[in-house]
């Protein structure tokens, strides 16, 4: 065992010396390799963290939301529907929800106006999300004035700013009183944006949804499960898109790496001959090559992953922000909670370390089994 370890260390010695002969080329390879791993790992960590956070946070969203569809579009739903649906087993509460969008030309941002059920607000009072406060430069006690659909300007006194800890879900919210909401948007009394149904037992959700579509055929129920699935799918899709964009780069690298790893120069062939002539076994040569592949790919994996971790969880994924932000003016400032999926990490490890190492070993096989007396000729 001791001899085995000593032998491996000698092989590592030799491999490192041999790699250091072309420091520029090998260092360049390592840098490019690490960069690729860094990109893949960043996307992986980022989407996984976002997905986990969405799943965790949205687990408390309403069980069922009922939308009314008119001519294929989401429309206001009359409060009378609450009676019209009748008693459904398992539903422990139902009420109307009021929310809508407001485009603020001053900063060219879309706000989400909402009537909260957990607090009573005065007519001229508003609670705003942290991103709005940041973008508009307002703080508690300041006034915000918006022009409504009927042409009148309404002023809101900012009575509170939502906690910036929850910015991921509340960045663009403006909470106003029901009365003001209705006058501002011109929504008549008795109409809501949608209805919320509370169901205690998740097993009954499907049944309830079925009954709803039967009793109220012009409505569409949205289950909490669907919300969660939407977000799962989105981040998968997003990750997929980025991976597709990266494919070109990865392929280019694969060609480069394959060529580098598997192309055995005449020089290297001669070296293998020398090593065999002076007493190395074929297996020693292959082990040495294994180390060469392993040293490079393992380094690239570790360096790439570690920088990706720093990038996503300490530098707030700065490189992805523009991609995520897109056209939005309001963007939540949030610090991602690091959720790491062991399986994903293992997959990344496998796909970065394994193919490269194999690519270095395979071509050596043929060269290494040739007779050592070639060096004499």
């Amino acid at each position: 065992m001791k001899a085995f370890i000593r032998k491996q260390r000698y092989l590592i010695d030799f491999t490192l010396s041999s790699l250091l002969r072309r420091p520029g080329k090998n260092l360049g390879l390592l840098v490019v390799y690490s960069l690729i791993v860094f990109l893949l790992a960043s996307v992986m960590l980022f989407t996984h963290a976002l997905r986990s956070e969405a799943r965790l946070v949205l687990a408390d969203s309403p069980e069922i939301i009922l939308q009314r569809m008119v001519a294929g579009r989401h429309d206001l739903i009359p409060g009378s529907y609450l009676e019209k649906m009748g008693r459904i087993r398992g539903v422990i509460g139902k009420h109307g929800r009021l929310w809508g969008y407001f485009y603020d030309p001053a900063v060219q941002a879309n706000y989400t106006l909402m009537v909260p059920r957990d607090r009573q607000l005065a007519e001229d009072e508003a609670v705003i999300g942290a991103a709005i406060a940041r973008t508009r430069g307002v703080s508690r006690g300041d006034f915000l004035t918006f022009r409504s659909t009927d042409g009148n300007a309404y002023s809101f006194r900012v009575s509170a700013i939502l906690a910036s800890d929850s910015e991921l879900v509340s960045a663009d919210l403006i909470l106003v009183s029901e009365q003001r909401f209705r006058t501002f948007f011109g929504i008549p009394e008795g109409y809501y944006t949608d209805l919320v149904l509370n169901v205690r037992n998740p097993k009954e959700l499907r049944k309830v949804a079925e009954k709803l579509t039967l009793r109220l055929p012009d409505t569409r129920p949205i289950l909490r499960d669907e919300i969660l699935r939407t977000y799962d799918a989105i981040f998968n899709w997003r990750q997929g898109i980025v991976f597709v964009l990266l494919t070109g780069t990865i392929l280019a690298f694969v060609i480069f790496a394959w060529d580098k790893a598997s192309g055995l120069s005449a020089e290297e062939r001669r070296e293998i001959g020398i090593l065999k002539a002076i007493g190395w076994e074929t297996s020693d040569v292959i082990r040495m090559k294994f180390w060469e592949g392993a040293i490079i790919s393992l380094s690239a994996f570790l360096l790439g992953y570690l920088t990706a971790y720093g990038h996503v969880f300490y530098a707030n994924a700065g490189l992805f922000e523009p991609v995520l932000k897109g056209w939005s003016v309001l963007y939540p400032e949030f610090r991602l909670t690091p959720f790491i999926d062991g399986l994903q990490l293992a997959t990344l490890f496998f796909f970065t370390v394994f193919p490269y190492t194999v690519a270095t070993i395979v071509p050596i096989w043929r060269a290494a089994i040739t007779d050592p007396d070639t060096v004499m000729r």
Binding site: A109, A233, Y305, F313, G326, W327, S328, T337
Partner: protein, 98 residues
Amino acid sequence: MRKSDLFILYLGTLSGLLLLSLVDAGNRSHLATQQLAETRREVRALELTDLSLFTEARYTRHLSQSDRHTPFQDHPLALEHFPSGSLVAPPTLLRSGR
């Protein structure tokens, strides 16, 4: 110092950092539970359904609430909200091929 010693040191340091990153992730997600609980409380209280990541259009702001069967949600000639629009998956129904 031998090259292999340096290498073992280097590999050890990096692996240590990897382990540290896992520990750090565990720690931070533990610390974040309070903050997440706060966010959850807000989601429950305000009956929120979506993340406010893409605020540029209604179908990106409330992904789960938008009627995904309407391809052109704002207007047939509406500008595509890039990149959010292209990063959002088409409805499963369309993707399943039928």
